[in-house]
């Protein structure tokens, strides 16, 4: 089962990430303990030269992890035909107990890596390495999660047995089941719509306030980060509660993965890609704000924050527009006038 192109690519990406982190961890410790920008010592100059190398390496492997989420989901969906009982990615992820933890870990890595990359980006724009200690300390905090994600993913792929009869999405997202997904699925459409459009609207409004203010209003930045996380949760709940129903034109099919299938024109990707991108950008706006007042970053953080806010606003607007288009085109009547 391991010899599937997508699985090999995902395992290679994870292995690269683990290798890069293993190589970077001693360097990160060295930076935290010995960095002294005022010194011209050989050790300090070596650290300065190497930080550029490690920063580039980490940017590459973490960016790879961002792309890996998409491939992981695509692969789960593609492999669903190999397992008895699987109708979509849910069945593949349910083949063993590591499937959904691996997906959740990948999503967590996606958002945390995006925040780290944003911090690294502003640091690399400054002339005096103002965040070098902080970013490597954060990397050390991120390392256990990245290792856990890689390990969970490996366990999941190693445990993929074709003789296992798995369960389909119908059982996971059925109303009345004692799971978070089932609770979100059973959310009535009208309040779910208010929540969906309200949270996306709030995130867009905060992004606009932050962007038009030149990226300088810190309250709007933190608000945007919070609103982005809320909008992400509300959008997923909305997809479970009503968007999926409109796409499938079926009042009881709540699966958020079947919309990724070719039978539905891969519509799910149109929803998820802007949603994930916008949420990551919104969270990154919040991640860089604590450093906005550092002397070397005063001119850098607002500009970058503004660009991230624009990405977040456009991404959330696109998510709302695509969901609306899906509802508009559907023949399902879910709400009576």
């Amino acid at each position: 089962m391991l010899f599937q192109p997508a699985i090999i690519a995902l395992l290679l990406a994870s292995a690269l990430c683990v290798l890069a982190l293993s190589a970077s961890a001693p360097f990160a410790l060295d930076v935290i303990r010995r960095w002294d920008i005022r010194s011209g010592s050989e050790r300090q100059l070596q650290l300065e030269r190497r930080t550029y190398l490690f920063s580039t390496l980490l940017t590459f492997v973490l960016a790879l992890q961002l792309a890996a989420v998409l491939l992981f989901v695509f692969n789960a969906e593609k492999m669903s035909g190999m397992f008895v009982g699987a109708m979509c990615a849910v069945g593949t992820l349910n083949v063993n107990s590591f499937g959904f933890p691996a997906l959740n870990a990948k999503i967590a890595v996606f958002f945390l890596a995006a925040m780290w990359l944003a911090i690294n980006h502003v640091d690399s724009r400054a002339r005096d390495y103002p965040l070098v200690r902080i970013k490597y300390a954060l990397l050390l905090l991120l390392t256990p999660l990245l290792l856990a994600s890689a390990w969970t993913e490996l366990q999941y792929f190693l445990g993929l047995k074709t003789d296992v009869i798995t369960s389909c999405c119908g059982s996971l997202f059925s109303e009345g089941r004692p799971t978070l997904a089932a609770e979100a699925s059973s959310l009535p459409p009208l309040p779910a719509m208010w929540l969906f459009y309200g949270s996306l609207g709030a995130a867009i409004a905060l992004a606009a306030v932050h962007g038009y203010g030149g990226g300088k209003q810190r309250w709007a930045a933190y608000g945007l980060a919070g609103a982005s996380a809320a909008a992400f949760a509300a959008t997923i709940a909305g997809i479970l509660s009503f968007v999926s129903l409109y796409v499938y034109e079926h009042p009881n099919h709540h699966c958020p993965f079947c919309i990724l299938k070719p039978e539905y024109g891969y519509q799910g990707y149109w929803l998820y890609v802007p949603l994930f991108g916008a949420t990551a950008a919104g969270l990154a706006v919040g991640a860089i704000q604590p450093f906005a007042r550092i002397a070397g970053l005063r001119d850098i953080v607002p500009g970058f924050s503004r660009r991230l806010a624009a990405i977040a606003a456009n991404g959330f607007a696109l998510t709302a527009a695509i969901a609306t288009a899906m509802i508009w085109q559907s023949r399902l009547i879910l709400l009576e006038h």
Partner: protein, 225 residues
């Protein structure tokens, strides 16, 4: 203008052929003056020049340009500093064959985004100033050594740098051309530019144009005049 403190530079560090080209250089280079580094081959003149010009990084020590530490800057900032603040004249000129004198001169200004017309006007002005206007469209391989050097000088000046760095600028020139070069140097100094050059040519280091000579041997400064 430029301060060097505790500069050391090793090549092949940690290997059997480790070599320290510079060993503890503390030096201050003043603005608007012509300074020459003099010393025998292997004394570390060119290595020091490349460190001052941000072409190489020291193994130890700091370089400060008008108070800002430039030895630790990431590469993207060094590129900007090299492009805008330094003009380089290399010993072998390093002109690009196949391109005309004009194209060679405006090449370092392309990344600045200035309009091509403006660059061509400035290049013409520089060529005319060095009496080479009639050779503007000649390919550089067709030019004589002296002409090539004047093209290299124009190229060094295209971005109007404050500081001009020249490595053994008269090494490939006869006495007459070397004398012409000193005349050009004098006019550059007259424009208020800081000039740092290496040479062991008496015609250069004993010239009145050079205001300060720094002697080097075995990677160390011998004395300051």
């Amino acid at each position: 203008m430029i301060e060097l403190s505790g500069i050391r530079k090793a090549f092949n560090q940690g290997r059997h052929n480790e070599y320290w080209a510079l060993d503890g250089i503390d030096l201050s280079i003043e603005a608007n003056k012509v300074t020459a580094l003099r010393g025998p081959s292997g004394s570390g003149k060119t290595t020091l020049l490349t460190i001052v010009g941000c072409l190489a990084r020291p193994t130890e020590g700091r370089v400060r340009l008008e108070g800002e530490d430039i030895s630790g800057l990431p590469e993207r900032f060094l590129t900007e500093i090299r492009r805008k603040r330094f003009g380089f004249i290399f010993q072998q000129f390093n002109l690009i064959k196949g391109l005309s004198a004009l194209d060679n001169i405006i090449l370092p200004a392309y990344p600045t985004g200035r309009p091509r017309r403006e660059l061509l006007d400035r290049a013409e002005e520089l060529l005319a100033g060095l009496k080479l206007g009639h050779r503007r469209n000649a390919k550089v391989e067709w030019l004589s050594g002296g002409e090539q050097q004047r093209v290299a000088i124009c190229r060094a000046l295209i971005n109007d740098p404050e500081l001009v760095i020249a490595d053994e600028p008269t090494a490939n020139l006869d006495t007459h051309l070397a004398g012409e070069f000193m005349g050009i140097l004098e006019s550059l100094a007259g424009q208020g530019r800081t000039i740092l050059l290496t040479s062991h040519d008496p015609l250069v280091v004993e010239s009145d144009v050079v205001q300060r000579v720094i002697d080097m041997r075995d990677g160390k400064l011998i004395c300051h005049e």
